[in-house]
Each structure stands twice: as C-alpha cells, then as structure tokens.
Amino acid sequence: MERIPILQMGRCLLVTIQVDLQDQTALRLQDDLASRIEKTGARGVLIDISALEIVDSFIGRMLAGISGVARVLDATTVVVGMQPAVAITLVELGLSLEGVRTALNVERGMQMLQTVDKEAGP
C-alpha cells in the first residue's frame, strides 16, 4: 500500500500529496500524521494538494479531520495549492472546511504557519 511521506522542517511538518488519494492511504496518512505530531511536538502542519486533481467527499472530510486532530494536538494546519476544480467540487459537495486554514502556495502557507507560531509564543 502506498504511503504519503511526511517531512519535518523545523517545527513544521510538510505533507505533499502527489498521487490521487485512495481511501486507505488517506486514513493511514491521518494516523501517521497524528503520531508524528505527538513524537516531534510540531506546531504546524502544511498539506500541499496542488497535484491533487480529483477529490470526493471522503477526502474532503479527511482534510477537515486531519486539521481537527492536529488542533487537538496543538498544531495549526494549513492546506495549500488547492486547484480551482477541486475547490468548486468541495463547495458543491457542501464541504466548506470550516476551521481549516488555506493558502495559495507553499511559500505563503509557511509564512502563515510562522506568523501563527510567533503569535502563540515559544
């Protein structure tokens, strides 16, 4: 089974989704990410979905789920690089991902995480 790699950059975790997500892969990513946040004490999670072309309601819910889990573990999640078609699909599915932060690209997402981290203090 495929596994989405999770990279660590300082106090942030970086996840780049390069393939179309299968349900199992997505569930495994959620598990992996939760344990990595716990292990590394990361304060921010950046999920890059710019290569993701197809989403369904499950993936949409999973994104919201990851964000929720990370928040409980005191980490901020930013979803970056969503394609227009994906955004329209999610809206049509009625998933507005309330509470999930979004940014246009990885650079701005990183900036956002650093600002949030600074505000929150050491």
Binding site: V79, V80, P84, A87, V91, L104, N105
Partner: protein
C-alpha cells in the same frame, strides 16, 4: 406508387421549363417576391426541380423526406436556399411560400395528363402534395435552426462579455458582475476567477455586485458558494457594491452573510484591500 412516380417524373422532365415559368409567375402574382430576386429564384427553382426529379426517380418515400438517402440532394439545396434567404432577411413564411407555390403548376400538368382517371389523378396529386409539403416544412425547420444557432451564439458571447476578471492592484482581482446571477453564470464567473487567482497568485478577490439588479436567496447562495471556493483556494474575498435596497432585502430575507466582508462601494473595497496589504494612500497636493 411506381406508376405515379414515373408519371410525375415524366411531367417534370418534359415540361420543366413550363413548370418553372408558371411557378415563378405564381410567385410574382402572389406579390411576395420583388423583381430583383426573381433571377435568383429562377436558378434556385431549376436546381430544386432537378433534385426533386432525381428523388422521385429513385422512388424515395416522400414520408421520409428528412432522413431518406435519396432526398439528400434536395435537402442540400433547401439547406442553402433557406440559409441564404434567412441571411438576406426573408421571413420563414416567404421561404416556405416559395416552395409551396410549386404545387399549382405541377397539379395543372397532372390534371391535363390524367384528368379522366380519378384514381390515378388522386394518387399523383397526393404524391406531389406530400413531397412539396415536406419540403416546405423542412425549409421552415432549417430557417428556425439557423436563427436558433444565432441566438445560442449570442448568448454565449453575452456570457463571456459579462464576466471579465480585472486586476485592480498587485494581488487584487475584481469581478464586476452585471446582470442577473443564475447558476450557469455563477459557475462561469467562479471558474474564471479561481483560474485567475491561481495564475496571478492574487490573495484578494473583490466581487462587485453593483450591476446585479436583485439579490434573492438563490443569488445569495451562489455568492456564498463563490466566496467559499475562493477561501478554500487560500485567498480572501470582499463583496462590494451592495446598494441600500439590496442590503434591506438581504436582511429581510434573513440571508446569513456572516463571515463575508461586504462593502458599499468598490472604492471602499479597494481601500480595505490596500490597507490589508500594508499600503497607505497619501495626497501630495494640498
């Protein structure tokens, strides 16, 4: 049936010029044709008669004029005829009248030939009548189709014209919405705007609804969808150009625009956008 076909074919072959002349005379006497188009009618008429004869010779069924292979040349002639006349501004009635006038000269010839044999006369007239009626119907439907194509193309152009995405400032896009918002237009605007956000990396989009005449629950829902999609992409959205009446309508309808920044005018929205981006505007002249 075969016999009737042969009879009609013979009439059309031997009396072609007579039929044609009487046909045009019929058109002129009914007063619907001007003299300048008579020349065009003559060549049109001859061509149509030829294809009609070919169709009858092939023994094609008049009932299947729209689909039968043997009628294809006749259909092609009618296609161009109807198309050019529509372009010249003739009405559908005039074009079908042109075809229907063919009945009388042919009926006359049929009567001369088979006037004493009622059965044969009846069959031949029925055959000619069916074919000519079908041809007239066909011209009308082609005429209508040509017009509908024009309308469809105009609608498409109207859609494209009414949804420009303009760049107001570095990182600020604006869409001036004009006309009633329906789901088709919202979809188009949303796609165009989201694509431009990706292309330009803009962080803020302003949707100006000054040109939207009414805002009801459906329109509001479309706006909400667009705003949500923009937020999902990682950009912000301001709705501007909310007129006082529209603000009242929104409140009376109980539409929840919480979480969406709204401004009265595009200028206010731009000012907010500049402030958010850290710009200040100062006046150098006093």
């Amino acid at each position: 049936m075969k016999q009737d076909n042969a009879a009609i074919e013979e009439i059309l072959t031997t009396n072609e010029e007579d039929v044609l002349r009487e046909w045009l005379a019929e058109l002129t006497s009914s007063g619907s044709r001007r003299s300048d188009s008579a020349v065009a009618s003559l060549s049109d008429g001859r061509e149509l008669l030829h294809t009609l004869r070919a169709g009858i010779r092939a023994g094609a069924d008049a009932g299947q004029f729209e689909s039968a292979e043997a009628w294809a040349p006749a259909r092609a002639v009618l296609d161009t005829l109807s198309g050019t006349r529509a372009a010249k501004g003739a009405s559908a009635g005039e074009t079908s009248h042109f075809v229907l006038s063919l009945k009388r000269p042919i009926f006359k010839r049929v009567q001369e030939r088979a006037g004493t044999r009622p059965d044969e006369l009846m069959n031949a007239i029925w055959l000619v009548s069916t074919v000519v009626d079908r041809m007239a119907q066909y011209t009308v439907s082609i005429f209508q189709k040509t017009r509908e194509d024009v309308i469809g193309r105009q609608q498409q152009e109207l859609l494209e014209l009414s949804t420009p995405v303009v760049k107001l400032w570095d990182g600020v896009l604006a869409v001036p919405m004009i006309g009633t918002l329906d789901s088709g237009r919202t979809q188009l605007v949303m796609e165009a705007l989201l694509q431009r956000i990706v292309d330009t990396g803009s962080e803020l989009a302003i949707i100006d609804i000054t040109g939207v005449p009414t805002v009801d629950t459906l329109v509001a829902q479309h706006l909400l969808k667009t705003v949500t999609a923009i937020r999902l992409m990682g950009a912000d959205c301001i709705i501007s150009g909310v007129r006082p009446q529209i603000a009242q309508t929104i409140v009376h309808l109980g539409i929840d625009l919480a979480g969406i920044t709204t401004k009265a005018s595009l200028a206010d929205a731009l000012a907010l956008a500049l402030r958010k981006a850290g710009y200040t505007v100062t006046r150098t002249k006093s």
